[in-house]
Amino acid sequence: MMLSRIADAMFWIGRYVERADQTARILGVSLQSITEDASLDAVDACAGVYGIFGVTDVPASDLTVQRVLDRMVTDRMNPSSVAGALQAARENARGVREALSTEVWESLNTTTLGMPRGVRPSRMHGAFQFAKDRCAVINGLLEASMTRDEAWLFLRVGQLLERADMLARNLQAHDLTDSSDAATVLLLRSCSAHEAYIRSYRGRVRVSGAIEFLLLDSIFPRSAAYCLSEIDEALETLAKLHGNSIDRLGTAEPGRRIIGRALASLRFRQLDDIVEDFEDEMEQLQRVTGAVTRALGTTYFDPAA
């Protein structure tokens, strides 16, 4: 058992580091395609990029690559920007330093301090690479230096939930009617899944194949099904740590019920059925994140004493 406040902070460290990483990956691909492709309407394309992150009502003056960088990469006050998410992870970590290894803390600290205060479009690749590399270092240190105790499990659940959530957002924003190779490759790349897809499916990319891979592949670590089943496993371990060792129905842990249903719903339906109202399906997948976060809150972060 551990302090509820610390469990809560560990969960959010997991979420924020993953958010910084995913945001850098998605922006790296999408903004690069805008600057590369002169035929694209930059204003529409920028609005689309904001849309992935749920930012609407964007003033016309913000519909430029430079403004996307200002708001979604370097703005430290916005917890959904790359620098802002790292800052939020770091602030959480500062409150629970004794629960993290020194290496993890120092890495988070130097990463946050090292994020540039402003980025020009010509230099954005370097900034994204920095963020991705540093997140990989942080994740590697977490993996290698942390005991697989409760603290680690909460962090892991946060990380996986955020990953599934970002995937759902990214898929929701994707125009399924555009079946061009270029659009599908862009989607796969922004999910950091292009190379893995090519190796798994060989041959040319098809949009239905890409959706199937991103949602249902059981061994690709960024697919929705993979993330959900890993969360389920982590929640089960948590429940066991808390003495529910004979959870024969697998439902003593309220979060598991939510995750289990979402996973079954994806896995045991026809792909055609899922893509029929794809936007709504992806919306629901995002709601799973909120529901699990609330369930963790009532069970662990703020249990009735």
């Binding site: 058992m1 551990m2 302090l3 509820s4 406040r5 610390i6 469990a7 602030e91 500062r94 409150g95 629970v96 330093r97 004794e98 020194t102 803390w105 120092e106 600290n109 130097t110 301090l113 409760e150 808390h242 003495g243 662990y300 972060f301 249990p303 004493a305």
Partner: protein, 551 residues
């Protein structure tokens, strides 16, 4: 040292002024500093400056910061250590321990019989007029009798070069984390300075602290006592220290909102519900501990905490109400308290001090205000201090009014010419004023003094106030170990004490960040037989390839 490379590094530090710990007025190096001086000089000014800068950078990377006006700043560390020789340290250490024992006895007396008042050692008004006496804990004696688990005693060198006590800190003395991190940074950044100089280790502090806190626990029916560190939160200026101590002791760092009282016991909120807490190392002010007793308007604190203390179910370290012992008026009586409670002569002297309640003293102080230092009795961190020679006429006039209105609230001292140590500033090392705060732990059986302590340095030229809120930095503080047996210079040293003295070795990677707080267990393991796995071959003999037959 032919060619004298030091001529360039320490050129700016030889000012010929008196009171420098490294150089005599004629510019020769004092023997205690000789080896360090030569090693630093050997680096040359550029190498020295570049490594000094990397020290500051590493503090920023590690988040070793303090809160300055809402901003996180790296705590300034100066790369020229302070050196104290073994003989002088043994006196300082004994003097600090003696003072802590006297203050401990004084606290016990104040909250029980008040014999010292009956016997005329201190005036009754000293206790009755102090705002720091907490009536709620009158008559309560903690389980192992200790109220002063952690003390920091501020020392300065006077004009004669000897140490004197400037003030006592017995509520929540801070700064020990910088002692630990300064040593770590110096061992990493300047490993060669430690060669040939037996510097005593400081890394055992967290383990000693945990032991002292556990010793203070109420009866836990054989279970291991649960110790926590209570912090006001990460916006507190000393948060780094709270976190470091919790981490190195391996205990939880809690905020008041993590704690709750049920049936006169204190529990912390965990993911598995409530868990009992036995000892709270509090790093918050008394005023914000328990709204039932202090400040009913406050949202901060743990309602019921004081009730639980009085019920004997939880122990606070340091105890509630310790402020009476570091009231600056009490300070003036400490030498008498040492004689009264311990029947010993004080080893460390006070700085001469005027009590303004005595009409003659008040008159003299009002007359000589421009040459004196005046301090509020309840201040800490350099707050409210007026230095006569540096104050304007208007300030002094206003101060006179306040002294007349509230003589109990102030003490006056002559300006102490603090000693200096060369410190790296813009143009190179220059003499800067320093003080010393040794830390002492009282486990009930024994008062242990951390070898060294925090040397704070005032970075602005001529400045006498060393607090970090006034632009102060710090230095690693080296206590040299007594000469080893067999060493020709060892004559006359006490061989018994040497065994105790851990020596710093920067190349020793076997240690973690700091020493293992559970040192005793490590020793036990050392005498155990080899681990079982070494007795079991990785592969069973009869499963191996029978290569002899195969031929």
């Amino acid at each position: 040292m032919v060619g004298m490379p030091d001529a360039s590094l320490f050129r700016t530090a030889r000012t010929g002024a008196a009171g420098d710990e490294m150089f005599t007025p004629d510019g020769t190096v004092r023997p205690t500093y000789q080896a360090l001086h030569d090693a630093l000089a050997g680096l040359g000014p550029e190498e020295f400056r570049s490594r000094s800068e990397s020290l500051a950078l590493s503090y920023l990377d590690q988040g070793i910061t303090f809160d300055y006006a809402g901003e996180e700043r790296p705590f300034p560390i100066d790369a020229i250590p302070r050196v104290i020789d073994a003989e002088e340290w043994s006196e300082v250490s004994a003097g600090v321990a003696q003072r802590v024992r006297a203050l401990e006895a004084f606290l016990d007396d104040v909250y029980t019989d008040r014999r010292a008042i009956t016997d005329g050692v201190i005036p009754e008004e000293l206790v009755t007029s102090s705002t720091y006496v907490v009536d709620a804990v009158r008559g309560h004696r903690p389980p192992n009798g200790v109220r002063l688990h952690v003390a920091g005693i501020d020392l300065v060198r006077d004009g004669d070069g000897g140490f004197r006590v400037l003030e006592d800190n017995v509520r929540t003395p801070s700064g020990v984390s910088y002692v630990l991190s300064n040593r770590r940074a110096m061992a990493q950044g300047f490993p060669e300075l430690f060669a040939d100089r037996p510097v005593r280790r400081v890394g055992e502090y967290p383990g000693r602290l945990l032991a002292a806190l556990q010793a203070a626990a109420p009866d836990t029916a054989g279970e291991e006592a649960t110790v926590v560190v209570l912090t006001p939160g990460r916006y507190n200026s000393a948060y780094f220290e709270h976190s470091l101590l919790a981490r190195t002791m391996g205990v939880d760092l809690v905020e008041a909102s993590d704690l709750v009282e049920r049936g006169d016991r204190i529990y912390m909120r965990t993911t598995a519900g409530l868990r009992r807490v036995d000892v709270i190392y509090k790093r918050t002010d008394d005023d914000f501990l328990d709204p039932e007793v202090f400040r009913p308007d406050s949202m901060l604190g743990v309602p019921g905490l004081v009730r639980s203390v009085l019920a004997g179910n939880v122990v606070l370290a340091n105890a509630l109400g310790n402020g009476i012992a570091d009231d600056k008026l009490t300070y003036t009586y400490v030498p008498d308290l040492v004689r009264y409670y311990l029947d010993e002569e004080p080893i460390l002297r006070n700085v001469d001090t005027w009590r303004l309640e005595e009409p003659d003293s008040l008159a003299e102080v009002l007359d000589r205000l421009e040459e004196l230092v005046v301090k509020p009795v309840d201040g800490s961190g350099g707050k409210g201090i007026v230095i006569g020679p540096a104050a304007s006429r208007e300030e002094l006039e206003a101060l006179r009014e306040r002294l007349r209105a509230d003589p109990r609230g102030w003490i006056a001292q002559p300006v102490v010419q603090l000693s200096t140590i060369p410190t790296l500033v813009e143009d190179g090392p220059e003499p800067r004023h320093v003080d010393l705060r040794p830390f002492a732990l009282n486990s009930g059986d024994d008062v242990w003094v951390l070898p060294g302590g925090l040397t704070r340095v005032a970075l602005p030229k001529g400045e006498m106030i060393v607090n970090s809120s006034r632009g102060g930095g710090s230095k690693d503080t080296w206590v040299l170990a007594a000469a080893r047996p067999g060493d020709p210079t060892a004559a006359g040293t006490d061989a018994g004490e040497e065994l105790d003295e851990g020596i710093e070795d920067p190349t020793d990677d076997t240690r973690d960040e700091f020493d293992d707080p559970r040192g005793e267990e490590t020793e036990e393991q050392a005498v155990e037989p080899d681990p079982v796995t070494s007795a079991i071959p990785l592969i069973e003999a009869d499963e191996e390839e029978p290569h002899h037959d195969a031929q």
